[in-house]
């Protein structure tokens, strides 16, 4: 019941309030830009849209909300500058605000280059890259938009879970109340549908990891759906780290049975064995890579589709204002539909990541004495679905 209410609230927030506000904000800026330029409009619009879409889905050193046009035609972005933390082996650690990079000019290969500050400048193609003037190596540990989004997500997660935990400790074994209801359903779902079928008697040991992975991905997926939100879980660095966690836990908990089956499959002729071992070793690496790509691609694609659908309005508006106006309801309806879908995908991807982590863990831990058949039967259909 509560869960349903929670979802409808989210849908309401994203679908009704966020969406029109977001697109109208953009509409003002863009149509104003198109009008004076006439015939050149659609082409320029195309370029802008690529920039807009990829600007939204990729990481940034500032949190850009929208841009307004001043009367003199100058664009003034409404953005929050974020701290930059740069480590250079020669000069050491530098911490400063990103608002020092504000003068952008076109560089080579269609990239944007910022002014230089402290011997550094940012090159922006699809991604932003901090480059030293003297060409030396730069380690960019800045608190970027994605990091800020993640911190918000983490704070939310900690607040929700710790308050729920407090309630559990205060409430004892009484029936759950309020937020507890919602969390409990998910926790029990993870325990009964993910952990126990895949890990059997080891389920209890890995529950904290699976729950953390699930909720961490889920809450960040949802935050990414907020208008103006960052595409945190659609970033390959994030999914790579999460997949690495899954991989390390899997390797750290693998048993002799797993390795002996992997490196020396029984009852197989020598040549086939060589091939099989090679394939098995590859599959060992492919498993976390698949985890990484799956989450990354799903979230990225979702963001791109929603943004593209919204941008259709401006593409049509570039052709004619009337067509653009007519297309607004179609585009909005479609983007609302996509938002609903993305809400679902946000939860499903989090579940799949947690589930596959459990499946891989279960595979690496299953022993000869264990309920071999049970795990074998359980994970295969799920893997196909995923």
């Amino acid at each position: 019941m509560n869960c349903k209410r929670f979802f409808s609230l989210l849908v309401l927030v994203f679908g009704l309030f966020g969406q029109p506000g977001f697109s109208f904000g953009q509409a003002e800026g863009n149509t104003a830009e198109v009008a004076p330029e006439g015939a050149e409009g659609p082409k320029k619009e195309g370029i802008n849209i690529t920039e807009l879409v990829f600007g939204h889905v990729s990481d940034s050193h500032e949190w850009h909300f929208f841009s307004t046009k001043k009367e003199n035609g100058e664009e003034s972005p409404v953005a929050v500058p974020l701290p930059m933390i740069i480590y250079q082996p020669g000069t050491g650690l530098k911490i400063f605000s990103s608002h020092h990079f504000e003068d952008w000019h076109h560089g080579a290969e269609g990239s944007l280059v910022s002014n230089s500050y402290e011997g550094l400048h940012i090159e922006k193609k699809i991604k932003e890259k901090v480059v030293a003037e003297d060409g030396s190596k730069v380690y960019d540990l800045s608190i970027t938009k994605n990091v800020v989004s993640m911190i918000i997500g983490v704070v939310l997660l900690l607040t929700i879970m710790l308050s729920a935990s407090k309630k559990y400790q205060a409430n004892g074994t009484n029936a759950p109340k309020g937020m507890q209801n919602f969390i409990e359903v998910v926790i029990i779902f993870i325990r009964d549908e993910v952990a126990i079928p895949n890990l059997g008697h080891n389920a209890k040991k890995f529950m904290p990891l699976l729950l953390t992975i699930f909720f961490f991905i889920w809450i960040n997926n949802l935050l990414g759906l907020l208008p103006g939100g960052a595409n945190f879980t659609g970033n390959i660095a994030v999914t790579a780290f999460l997949a690495l966690v899954a991989f390390i836990v899997m390797i750290a908990n693998s048993n002799k049975h797993f390795w002996s089956h992997l490196l020396n499959p029984p009852d197989v002729p020598f040549l086939v064995k060589c091939l099989l071992v090679l394939i098995e070793l590859m599959s060992l690496i492919i498993k976390p890579v698949a985890l990484m790509i799956r989450l990354f691609a799903n979230m990225l694609a979702g963001h791109i589709v929603i943004l593209s659908v919204i941008c259709l309005i401006f593409i049509f508006a570039g052709i004619s204002k009337v067509v653009g106006g007519v297309f607004i309801p179609v585009s909005l309806a479609f983007s609302v539909f996509m938002f609903m879908l993305e809400l679902l995908v946000a939860a499903i991807q989090a579940f799949i990541f947690a589930n596959l982590t459990a499946v891989f863990l279960g595979q690496s831990m299953e022993g000869g004495h264990d309920d071999h058949h049970d795990t074998e039967v359980h994970h295969s259909p799920k893997e196909i679905i995923a």
Binding site: D59, K127, Y139, M161, L211
Partner: protein
């Protein structure tokens, strides 16, 4: 492609944040929540099994009660039957005894009546005998008082002799 190369910074911060979240939540959220969930589930399972057990006990008690009831009813009917038999027996015995007593009394009475009758008869016979003798004496005395009477009597006697 550009999008496919992971950034070091984001990786680094994700690592720190995820590990921090994992450790904090593991200690302060997941463990207590899972523990209390487990406890609650155990409590519920225990209550259910206890209820089941009590239910079993109740049915057992009930069936025992019924058995007792049936037994009691049987005993009661047996007792009633016995009492009835006893009563009948006593009544019959009493009746027979009474009958026997009555017969005895009747026989005694008849005997006594017989005796009394016999006694009375003998007495009456004696009385009648004496009376007859007295009457005969008186008659004889009167008849034989005169000569003529004596002679008549003698002639009668002689007649008898003659006849013989």
């Amino acid at each position: 492609m550009d999008l496919l190369t992971p950034e070091l910074g984001l990786f680094f911060w994700t690592l720190i944040a995820f590990l921090a979240v994992f450790l904090i939540l593991k200690k302060f959220a997941w463990k207590p929540i899972l523990a209390s969930l487990g406890e609650r589930e155990k409590g519920i399972a225990d209550s259910i099994s206890a209820a089941e057990r009590i239910k079993g006990e109740m049915t057992q008690l009930k069936s025992e009660n019924e058995k007792l009831m049936v037994q009691a009813r049987e005993e009661r009917s047996v007792m009633l039957k016995e009492a009835k038999e006893m009563k009948d027996k006593i009544v019959n015995e009493a009746k027979e005894q009474a009958k026997a007593e009555a017969n005895k009394i009747i026989i005694d009475a008849q005997l006594q009546i017989q005796q009394q009758k016999m006694a009375a008869m003998t007495e009456v016979k004696n009385e009648i005998g004496t009376l007859a003798i007295e009457v005969a004496e008186k008659i004889l005395r009167k008849q034989l008082n005169s000569n003529e009477g004596q002679e008549a009597y003698m002639s009668m006697l002689s007649k008898d002799i003659k006849l013989n």
